[in-house]
Symmetry: C2
Subunit: 406 residues, 2 copies
C-alpha cells in the first residue's frame, strides 16, 4: 500500500506554488509559477532515482527503469497547470500519485518488468491557451507541432515563446511511442461519486466537447439620442442566444451542458451601443449524436436570433473533442485492482476532458476517479478527503503493477 | 456670415488626427492624439489673436478681448475628445465653430463689447474616463478636483497622470467665473432633425442620465461534470436582467433608453462557469420622475433575477446627471438668431449629455443642434451636410454677437 501521508504532504507542498488567498491555486500553464511547480516535480523524481526527458511541447516524462529495459513503459500522469480560480488537486493529484507509486515501489525495493513513466502534460486546462489538453493532443498526433507552438494567450504570447521563457522547450520530439498501458488518476470534478458515497470511479470514457467563439456584430450608436427601435444592438443577441441555449440543452437529458466562459465587448464605451460581442461557448454531451444535434441547434439559434435583431454573426469552431471510449483491458485492470482492495466503486463516464482522451488514441488507456467535495472544481474551494486520495493511489498502484508485471 | 469653407476645412484638418480606416476618429481624452488635437487648436487660436489659459483639469480657454475689458465673457465650446469608434463632428464642431465665429469677426474687424471665450472641455465623452463631462463638471463645482484628478482609465492611469503626461495640467484654478452667456453648438446625434428635414434645433434642455456598474456574483465550477441544475451562473443573471431591462424601458415611452456598453467576466476561462460578471448600464429619460421609476425597476429586476438564480449582486452608482432645463434668455437669443437667418427649426431636448449640462448650473446656457446623417453618432460613419455645418455656425455667430454686443 502507498504512503497516504507522504502523498498528501507532496500535494500540500505543490499547492504552495501559486497559492491563492481563498485556499486555491492559480498556477496557469507555462507561467513562472508553473515553472516552479515543474522544477519541484523534477527534483522529487530525480530524488526517487528517475530520469527526465522534456519534449518540444514541454511535456515532462520521468522514467523508472524496468527489469526488461526494452519493454514498452506503463505510463501515468496528468497536469500541473491550474485554472485561474483553480484548486489544489485537479491534475496535480494524478501527477503526484504517480510519484507516490514510484516512491512506494522504491520503499519496497520492487522493480517492475516494464519501465514506468510519469508524465506531466502541458496546458491541460485550456485556460491560458486554447484548446485544452494541447500537450497530449500534439504528442498523440491529433494536432501538429506548429499548431501547438503558435497557440496564443490573451496577450498574444505563443506557447513556443512561453516554453522558451521558462526554459521548458525540450529536445525530445513531441511524438507518441509504444506504450503498454496508460492510467490517469483524477478527481471527478462532479457530484456523482460523492452523492453515491463511493470512493472510486472506474472511468470508461469521456464525453464529447465543442468549443466555439460566437461573434455577434451590430452597429455602434449613441446611447442617448438613438431610439431603442432600429438599434442593431449585439447585447440583444447575447441575451436571447444565451437564454435559448440554456433552454436548448435541457432537452438533451440531464447530461448535456452549456457554459459561457467569457464575453468580450468592443468598443466598450459606456454611452455607445457595442459594435461587437464575442461569446465563448462550451457545449458537451456524452453521446456524439446528441452533441451533433446540439451543435446544429446552436447554429440555428444564433442565425434566427441575429436575423430577428438585424445583427450579423460568425461562429468560429475553436475545438472539438468527440466522446471517447477507453480500452477494455485497462478498465478491467483498474476494476480488478479496486476489487482486490475491496473499495466500493462504480463504472462511469467523465464530464471533463482529460489528457487520457488524446493518449487513448495511441495507447491502451483508462482512468480512475475519486470524489471531490460538493463536486466542485475549477474553484479555489475544490477539496477532497485525504482517505480518498490514499484509496485512489492504491488503485493506481494495483493497476500499474498489474500491467507492468512484478 | 461665417466662412463655411474655412470651417469645413478646419474640421477636416482636425479629423486627420486620430483618423480611422473607416473614416472616423479615435482621439480619446488625454491621449497623445488628443494632445496633438489640442495643440493644433491652440495654434489656430493664437493665429487668430486669442490668448490661452489652461486650467487644473486641462480645460482650455481661448479668449478674444472685448471693448469692455472688465465685462463678463460670452463663452462657447465643446470638446475635442472622441469615442473609440467616434466620428469627425461630435464635439469638434462646437469648438471649431467657435473659432470660426472669431475668425469671421476678425475678417470684419468687429470687436464685441463683452470678451468671447472658446472652451475645450476635458473628457466629455466619458469613454476613456467615467463619468462623461468631467472637465465641465469640476469647473462648475458639481464634483471636486480630487474626484476628477483621481478618475482612472481601464489601465489604472488617473486623469492627473494623463494630464501631466501630455503637459496639459494647467495652473488656472478649475473653477467657474461670472459669464454673460454660454452657447454650445453640436450635432444632434439622433434622428429627429433629419426626419423632419430641419437644419436647426434650438435646444431647451437635456434628458436625465444614470450610469451603473451591475456586479453579478456566481460560483465558478467546471463546465463539464457540473450539472446545469444548481449552478450559480452569472451569465444566466446577465441574460435575464438585460432581457428584462429592454422590456422595462419600452413602458416608459419612446423617449426612454437602456444601453449596455460593456460586459466584464472573470475568471474568463473557457471551461469554467464565471465567478463574476460586471455589466455597464446606461439608463435615460427626459423626465426625472420617470428616470427615478426606471432606476427603482432596474434595482428590483436585478434583485428578483439574482434571487431566482441564486446569485449575489451589487449595484454601483457610477454617475447621475438629472434632466436639465436651459436658460430662457439664451434659448430666446438662439431662436431670434435662427429667425433672423430664416432657417426652419424646432425647439427640442437633447438625448445626449453635453458640457452645457454642467455649465448651465453656473451660467445662462443654451444649445444649438444641427442634423446628422441617419442620426448616427459614436460611430465612425458619423456624417453631416456641409451646408448644415455652415447654418449652425451662422446661428451661433448671431446668438453670440447678440449676447456680447457689437
Ligand atoms: N480536467 C479538466 O479540467 N480538463 C480541462 C478540459 C475540459 O474542459 O474538460
Ligand atoms: N455628446 C456626447 O457624446 N456626450 C457624452 C455624454 C453622454 O453619454 O450623453
Amino acid at each position: 500500500n502507498i504512503n497516504g501521508e507522504r502523498l498528501w504532504q507532496s500535494l500540500m507542498d505543490m499547492a504552495q506554488i501559486g497559492a491563492t488567498k481563498k485556499g486555491g491555486c492559480n498556477r496557469q500553464a507555462l507561467t513562472d509559477l508553473d515553472k516552479q511547480g515543474r522544477d519541484l516535480f523534477i527534483t522529487w523524481c530525480e530524488d526517487a532515482g528517475m530520469t527526465i526527458r522534456i519534449d518540444e511541447m514541454g511535456n515532462i516524462f520521468a522514467r523508472r527503469a524496468g527489469t526488461q529495459p526494452q519493454a514498452t513503459p506503463v505510463i501515468t500522469g496528468s497536469h500541473l497547470d491550474t485554472q485561474p480560480t483553480g484548486g489544489k488537486f485537479d491534475g496535480v493529484y494524478g501527477v503526484l500519485a504517480g510519484l507516490e507509486v514510484v516512491r512506494t515501489l522504491n520503499d519496497n525495493k520492487i522493480t517492475t518488468q516494464h519501465p514506468l513513466e510519469i508524465v506531466v502534460w502541458t496546458n491541460e486546462e485550456g485556460a491560458r491557451f486554447s484548446p485544452a489538453m494541447i500537450g497530449s493532443g500534439i504528442w498523440s498526433g491529433e494536432f501538429d507541432l506548429d499548431y501547438g507552438w503558435n497557440r496564443k494567450d490573451k496577450d498574444g504570447c505563443t506557447i513556443k515563446q512561453a516554453l522558451t521563457a521558462i526554459n521548458m522547450l525540450g529536445e525530445t520530439p513531441c511524438l507518441h511511442f509504444p506504450i503498454k498501458a496508460a492510467y490517469e488518476l483524477h478527481i471527478e470534478q462532479g457530484p456523482i461519486l460523492e452523492q453515491q458515497q463511493l470512493p472510486i470511479g472506474v472511468v470508461e470514457g469521456v464525453q464529447g466537447i465543442r468549443w466555439y467563439d460566437l461573434i455577434i456584430k451590430g452597429s455602434p450608436v449613441h446611447a442617448g439620442p438613438t431610439p431603442m427601435k432600429g438599434r442593431q444592438d449585439p447585447i440583444k443577441g447575447l441575451a436571447d442566444i444565451t437564454s435559448a441555449l440554456y433552454k436548448m440543452v435541457d432537452k438533451y437529458t440531464e447530461w448535456s451542458r452549456v457554459t459561457f466562459g467569457n464575453v468580450l465587448v468592443t468598443p466598450a464605451s459606456r454611452n455607445t451601443v457595442p459594435e461587437q460581442v464575442t461569446l465563448w461557448v462550451d457545449l458537451r454531451h456524452p453521446e456524439n449524436e446528441n452533441l451533433t444535434l446540439m451543435d446544429a441547434e446552436f447554429r440555428a439559434i444564433a442565425k434566427s436570433v441575429c436575423e430577428q435583431h438585424n445583427l450579423e454573426f460568425e461562429i468560429k469552431d475553436e475545438w472539438h473533442s468527440p466522446a471517447v471510449q477507453f480500452n477494455q483491458d485497462c478498465v478491467d485492470s483498474i476494476e480488478a485492482s479496486v476489487q482486490q482492495l475491496g473499495y466500493p466503486y462504480k463504472k462511469m463516464f467523465s464530464g471533463a476532458g482529460h489528457d487520457s482522451v488524446y493518449v487513448s488514441k495511441v495507447a491502451p488507456t483508462a482512468m480512475i476517479f475519486i470524489p471531490c467535495e460538493g463536486g466542485i472544481s475549477h474553484n479555489e474551494a475544490e477539496n477532497v478527503k485525504q482517505e480518498d486520495i490514499t484509496s485512489g493511489c492504491n488503485v493506481l498502484l494495483g493497476a500499474m503493477t498489474k500491467s507492468a508485471g512484478v
